[in-house]
């Protein structure tokens, strides 16, 4: 599903150049649930941004579902993001003047799906994350965990090939974190490919594979026994 070969990325900071990614080789097959771990500054967010086409690599190859991703115009990148990727952010990033349902329907709107169909799908996804009754509520009327579930529903709405989650539990307490991870595991069980960036060990062990980044290189890539989050959720 994801193929990365010798990926380099550096940022210019005034006269200095900061080499963040120093040759990353990585691949993920369809249906995998991968945790990307690393301390801050290890380059994990940069990697995720490049995977999410929010940022561009200086060199290296990136293929997503057989499509080479390089030299994209903004319009093309927007199209690919919409079609291939779903994003979940640490700070939820819901649009606060739109209701939960409108937020979920947003990616479909950019796909020019008809209004009625959009709403139907959005409600369907909200139901799957257990928030159907909250469809008409604005984000600031929801709790943190609920917001993140709406965000996950939004990321799933466009039926993307890969779900990218950047510290999805970073702003949540552990109980809610496990609820969110439970949801992510369930989505993975249905065959979706998911990449989770995290620095929490317990969250990482709820994935099926852990990739450790340090100073811009992958230092460890191992399969782990998945811990089901549902064990912690009553």
């Amino acid at each position: 599903m994801i193929e990365i070969k010798d990926l380099h990325k550096s940022y210019k900071m005034g006269s200095n150049s900061l080499h963040v990614l120093k040759g990353i080789n990585f691949s993920a097959k369809a249906g995998e649930l991968v945790a990307i771990m690393g301390s801050s500054g290890s380059g994990k967010s940069t990697l995720l941004n490049i995977l999410g086409m929010l940022d561009e690599a200086d060199s290296g190859e990136y293929t997503l579902d057989g499509v080479p991703i390089r030299d994209l115009s903004e319009t093309k990148a927007a199209q690919y993001r919409n079609k291939f990727l779903g994003f979940v952010f640490q700070s939820f990033n819901l649009i606060n003047y739109k209701s939960a349902m409108e937020n979920v329907a947003l990616p479909l709107y950019y796909q020019r799906v008809a209004r009625k169909e959009r709403q139907e799908k959005a409600l369907n996804y909200l139901e799957r994350v257990g928030l159907k009754e909250w469809a008409e509520h604005l984000p600031n009327e929801l709790s943190g965990g609920q917001k993140q579930r709406v965000a996950i529903a939004r990321a799933m709405a466009a039926e993307p090939k890969v779900l990218l989650a950047d510290e999805p539990t970073g702003a949540l307490d552990s109980k809610t974190s496990y609820e969110v991870m439970d949801l992510i595991q369930k989505i993975n069980d249905e065959g979706n490919t998911i990449l989770v960036v995290t620095h929490e060990e317990d969250i990482a062990h709820m994935c099926k594979r852990i990739v450790h980044l340090r100073d811009g290189v992958i230092v460890e890539d191992k399969k782990v026994e998945q811990v089901r989050a549902s064990e912690y959720v009553q």
């Binding site: 929010l54 319009t75 927007a78 919409n82 819901l94 649009i95 947003l106």
Partner: protein, 420 residues
């Protein structure tokens, strides 16, 4: 493009900070309000001034003789001469594109002291004109009773007269029958066959209502003018300027009366069209000033809108980042910002237009209630001006949104998302 969601979003954004939106809108509203009111005031002045021209055919010149100032063909300078009735035919034959050529003769009387018109025991002094029937087209008047002079009167030299309503009130009892009665003009009896009223409201308003028109031929005979023509009123066909044709006419007259071709003072004339054009260009300038002032004021409003849109974009940087991460195309975002800007501009502009119209309406009803004011009449703006103003608004909304829209898509989604 014009779907419900987009409009919903525009309204959501603009109503999220109502007072800011209102203050921003005020700038544009005020600009277009000034523009509309200035244009209407200019129009009011124009209407007022043009009313003074009355209905006079403006493509008209008046021409009379003076004395020569150069010797020519053996004739001395200082020689006086008169137009003859044959001159009328000559102009007709030699100068094309003329609509009316009316020879006129006149007995002065108004305010000149000696009474020249008598009816029974009442007397008055009025201007008496010997005219052809066409004069009613050049110096328009409304015949209020009876009829105007016709060609039978001319051919048979009938001693008939058309009098103004001012004379009617001078010489007649209230309610007295006028038609068929006789008035004595310098000792000659004329039968009154009609009364008229003039529409011009300039300073000569009273005098204009106290004139007597008699057939040119009977005038000549009754007052011993022979073949003389006092002056002429000449109107050109529409589309031909009398200012151009007058050179030919005057030239023809110089030739016929043995006036030196370069003797420009021998024949006097008054070119109404030139005067009218001068007034026209004055109002053109006035209109240009109104547009410039209005658009300048509007411009500051537009800059306000642009400013606020920049702030809105700044505030929504993160939202724009999210939307782009979700796959909204840059064009869609640009369009959104532009539409917000145009919508805000047009709505506030419309408010300005409506307020301006209300003020104009108020002034009009005030004018109606206090009666006519000198040189100011019916201030108004045409549909053309309003749609022009809307056009200006559309373009200025586009301009106001242009910079903010570009700055919105310049922000890269990753940077937009980083701002926490």
């Amino acid at each position: 493009m014009f779907n419900k969601d987009r409009w919903k979003e525009i309204l959501e954004v603009l109503t999220s900070n109502v007072w800011r939106t209102i203050f921003t809108a005020f700038g544009v509203c005020w600009g277009i309000f000034i523009l509309i009111v200035l244009l209407a005031a200019g129009k009011g002045l124009e209407n007022g001034i043009k009313k003074d021209f009355g209905d006079i055919a403006t493509n008209t010149m008046f021409m009379w003789t003076r004395s020569t100032t150069r010797a020519y063909e053996g004739l001395p300078k200082g020689r006086s001469f008169e137009f003859r009735t044959s001159d009328v035919q000559a102009i007709q034959d030699n100068v094309p594109n003329l609509r009316f050529i009316s020879p006129r003769n006149q007995l002065s009387g108004f305010r000149s002291g000696g009474n020249n018109v008598v009816r029974g025991i009442r007397t008055g002094s009025y201007n008496i004109y010997g005219d052809y029937p066409e004069i009613i087209n050049q110096d328009p008047m409304t015949v209020t009773s009876g009829r105007f002079i016709n060609y039978n009167d001319i051919n048979e030299k009938r001693k008939v007269a058309v009098i103004g309503r001012g004379i009617k009130s001078d010489l007649y009892e209230k309610g007295e029958d006028v038609l068929g009665t006789y008035i004595k003009i310098q000792g000659v009896n004329f039968m009154v066959i009609g009364t008229y009223k003039k529409n011009s409201n300039d300073g000569d308003g009273e005098e204009a209502q106290k004139e007597i028109f008699v057939p040119f031929t009977s005038f000549s005979q009754a007052f011993n003018r022979g073949e003389e023509v006092g002056w002429m009123a000449i109107t050109a066909h529409d589309g031909h300027s009398i200012s151009v044709l007058k050179e030919d006419i005057v030239g023809e007259m110089k030739k016929r009366h043995k006036v030196h071709p370069e003797d420009n003072r021998a024949i006097g004339y008054f070119d109404l069209y030139e005067q009218y054009n001068r007034v026209e260009s004055l109002f053109g300038a006035l209109k240009a000033v109104a547009y410039i002032v209005g658009i300048m004021v509007l411009l500051s409003g537009i800059i306000g809108v642009s400013n606020i849109m920049l702030i809105v974009v700044k505030e929504r940087t993160k939202e724009i980042g999210i939307r782009r991460a979700l796959g909204e195309s840059p064009w869609s975002i640009k369009l959104q910002i532009l539409m917000e800007s145009i919508f805000l501009t047009i709505i506030s502009g419309m408010t300005g237009i409506i307020l301006g119209s209300l003020v104009i309406y108020g002034i009009n009803s005030l004018l109606d209630s206090v009666g006519p004011v000198d040189m100011f009449l019916n201030p108004s703006v045409s549909v053309g001006v309003v749609s022009g103003a809307l056009m200006i608004l559309m373009i200025s909304g586009l301009l106001a949104g242009f910079i903010p829209a570009n700055s919105a898509i310049r922000v890269r989604p990753i940077e937009a998302l980083r701002t926490e």
